[in-house]
């Protein structure tokens, strides 16, 4: 799917003034905007979300990662009262969901799955109609959010004529219209072309810079790495790991090597660091090299032996991809499907 009309330059985001305040108090951590407390949802036999505990603080751009079917959307639907939890609850700015759902929803803007609008109405009218449900919305604010997502020129076209990418961006505009405390975006880049993805990520980063709390669900690791400061990884309805994105890396210090002759390189490396520290996947040699100096020595030796070194990828550059696969597979001993699912999530 390509949407050639969807490439305006990402304009500088305005708005959300109310949250641009000093959200990190000099003492202590910023206040909690969203938390869940043993949030659980069961559909018949299936445990879709299992005793979920998360904490999102003001100013966080929180990545909610997981393969398709992990329970991300079910969780988000519980935050916004579309689904009633089987047990547990969520708290949004001191209001419990589902108990004080109506109050909590005043502080939330966002969308779940594909944003849907009234097809026979213009974007402007849609924003007016929905924005006024949560409070009064000025026409100037509508212009403002349309500017933020670059839809100002098409504001008076029927949303039924919008492309997927435009609807996605209108979804973001609608999320921002009431300047909410918490912006929830469910896979906001799904179905977008590369330029559209880039625009949306830039927009989310900008929101984060302004101090807006964003809860972003995604199955794309590099997306979360690019825009989020904190993240949780969900698999089969359970949080596998939660923490700052910078810490969400494999703990081991492996180096991946790509050479002109992998078989010979393996022998040489094994002689150097010990056979048990060398493994091989379809593409790379994976070496537990120890400190950085060891890697340098390794490469020197390979080159000296006449082997061309095409790539050396240290652990911190390997990103969440492998970590994610490790986690989602290891928590899935009984069923063989997870590897396929997670693979599909790349």
């Amino acid at each position: 799917m390509t949407m050639p009309t969807d490439h305006p330059e990402c304009p500088p985001a305005a708005g959300s003034e109310s949250h641009a305040l000093a959200h990190r108090a000099p003492t202590g951590e910023p206040p909690i905007v969203l938390s869940t407390h043993d949030l659980t949802k069961r559909f018949g036999q299936t445990l879709a979300v299992d005793r979920l505990n998360l904490t999102v603080r003001r100013g966080d751009v929180f990545g909610f990662l997981g393969p398709n079917g992990a329970g991300k959307t079910t969780t988000i639907r519980m935050f916004v009262g579309l689904i009633y939890p089987t047990s547990g609850y969520a708290t949004v700015v001191d209001h419990q969901v589902p108990r004080d759902k109506t109050e909590a929803l005043k502080h939330i803007g966002g969308f779940v799955e594909v944003p849907a609008f009234y097809a026979n109405m213009s974007a402007r009218r849609n924003l007016r109609l929905m924005g006024n449900l949560n409070g009064e919305v000025e026409e100037s604010r509508i212009d403002e959010v349309l500017d933020i997502v670059g839809l100002r020129e098409r504001a008076d076209s029927k949303t039924g004529d919008y492309s997927h990418g435009m609807k996605q961006r209108l979804g973001i505009a609608n999320a921002l219209i009431n300047s909410p405390e918490l912006v929830i975006l469910d896979e906001p880049t799904s179905g977008l072309d590369p330029q559209g993805m880039k625009d949306v990520r830039e927009l989310v980063r900008e929101l984060g810079r302004q101090g807006t709390t964003v809860f972003l669900s995604s199955h794309l690791l590099h997306e979360v790495e690019q825009v989020c400061n904190r993240a949780a990884i969900l698999n089969k309805g359970r949080v596998v790991v939660e923490g700052p994105v910078s810490e969400l890396h494999p703990e081991h210090s492996s180096v991946k090597l790509l050479t002109s002759d992998q078989a010979r390189a393996r022998e040489i490396v094994a002689a150097l660091v010990g056979g048990q520290h060398v493994a091989r996947d379809e593409e790379y040699l994976i070496v537990e090299a120890g400190e950085d100096g060891a890697t340098r020595e390794l490469v020197r030796r390979l080159v000296a032996e006449g082997i061309g070194v095409d790539a050396v990828i240290p652990a911190r550059e390997q990103g969440l991809e492998d970590f994610f696969l490790d986690l989602t597979q290891s928590s899935d001993v009984d069923a063989g499907g997870a590897a396929g699912v997670a693979g599909g999530a790349r």
Partner: protein
């Protein structure tokens, strides 16, 4: 109230709203046209009953129209109006967008019910005014003979017509509420509308057999035609009151059930 006006905005922006209204308006115009073209043939009086009274009097055209419409088209549109309100929005995905705002489920349900009722009211007003205008143009407005034989002035005739319309309105709101209840159980507006119509038709069939006469007072469908009792002098109130009581009980029970189901419904689409 705020929610109701929002829902009405959405209604006005739905193309299908106009299809239903157009269909309703067409009926009195077609009846008038048929009577007018046939005005010299006194042996063919059309479907008979109240409808034949309108043969030479435009004043009775709205009544002739409602007699025809209350049998099927009006219940059909009521079923669709009720079903579209919830299930139609589930189909387009806007239900989740709507519910993600700071509004209560009960308020959403009530405003949607109110919107569907207003939709039917507007449709019936079109039938009334369309029938009256076309009838006046074709046959003029005259004092009329009531079913009990006395004569009623134009003003009194219009008053009785209005009462008849209100009675029929309450009757079809039963179908509408039934459709709205079904719409809380399914995400397909067609399923909800057809479900309501199936119940409506089955009730009609039950009412048609004397064996099931003991059921008749409990079927809202067998009360709908009772509006004709308003066209007597004096008005025979008993069937009117028992009809209205049945309607109100049905509507209250159906809406209570709909609220119970919708209150904690998991919206997954």
């Amino acid at each position: 109230m705020k929610l109701l006006s929002r829902e009405l905005t959405k209604l006005v922006f739905q193309k299908r709203s106009y299809v239903g209204w157009g269909g309703l308006l067409a009926v009195p115009l077609l009846i008038t046209l048929a009577f007018y073209l046939n005005r010299n043939n006194h042996h063919d009086n059309g479907p008979g009953g109240v409808i034949s009274l309108a043969f030479h009097n435009g004043l009775l055209m709205p009544l002739a129209a409602i007699a025809m419409l209350s049998a099927f088209l009006l219940p059909l549109l009521a079923a669709m109006a009720g079903a579209y309100q919830l299930a139609g929005e589930a189909e387009t995905g806007t239900l989740k967008t709507w519910l993600m705002h700071s509004i209560s489920r009960g308020g959403v349900l009530t405003s949607k019910w109110g919107t569907a009722v207003i939709y039917i009211m507007v449709g019936m007003a079109l039938v009334f005014l369309g029938g009256l205008a076309a009838g006046a143009l074709a046959f003029g407005l005259h004092a009329t003979v009531l079913l009990s034989g006395q004569t009623a002035s134009i003003g009194h005739g219009l008053w009785l017509t209005l009462l008849s319309y209100l009675y029929v309105l309450v009757g079809v709101i039963c179908v509408l509420s039934l459709a709205l209840l079904f719409a809380t159980m399914t995400n397909s507006s067609l399923t909800a509308a057809i479900g309501a119509l199936v119940v409506f038709i089955v009730m009609n069939i039950l009412g048609a057999f004397s064996y099931f006469d003991f059921l008749k007072p409990y079927l809202f469908t067998s009360h709908i035609d009772a509006w004709q009792n308003l066209l007597r002098q004096p008005i025979s109130w008993h069937p009117i009151v028992s009809g209205l009581t049945t309607f109100v009980i049905y509507i209250a029970a159906l809406m209570l059930a709909a609220w119970y189901l919708f209150r904690r419904k998991d919206v997954l689409v």
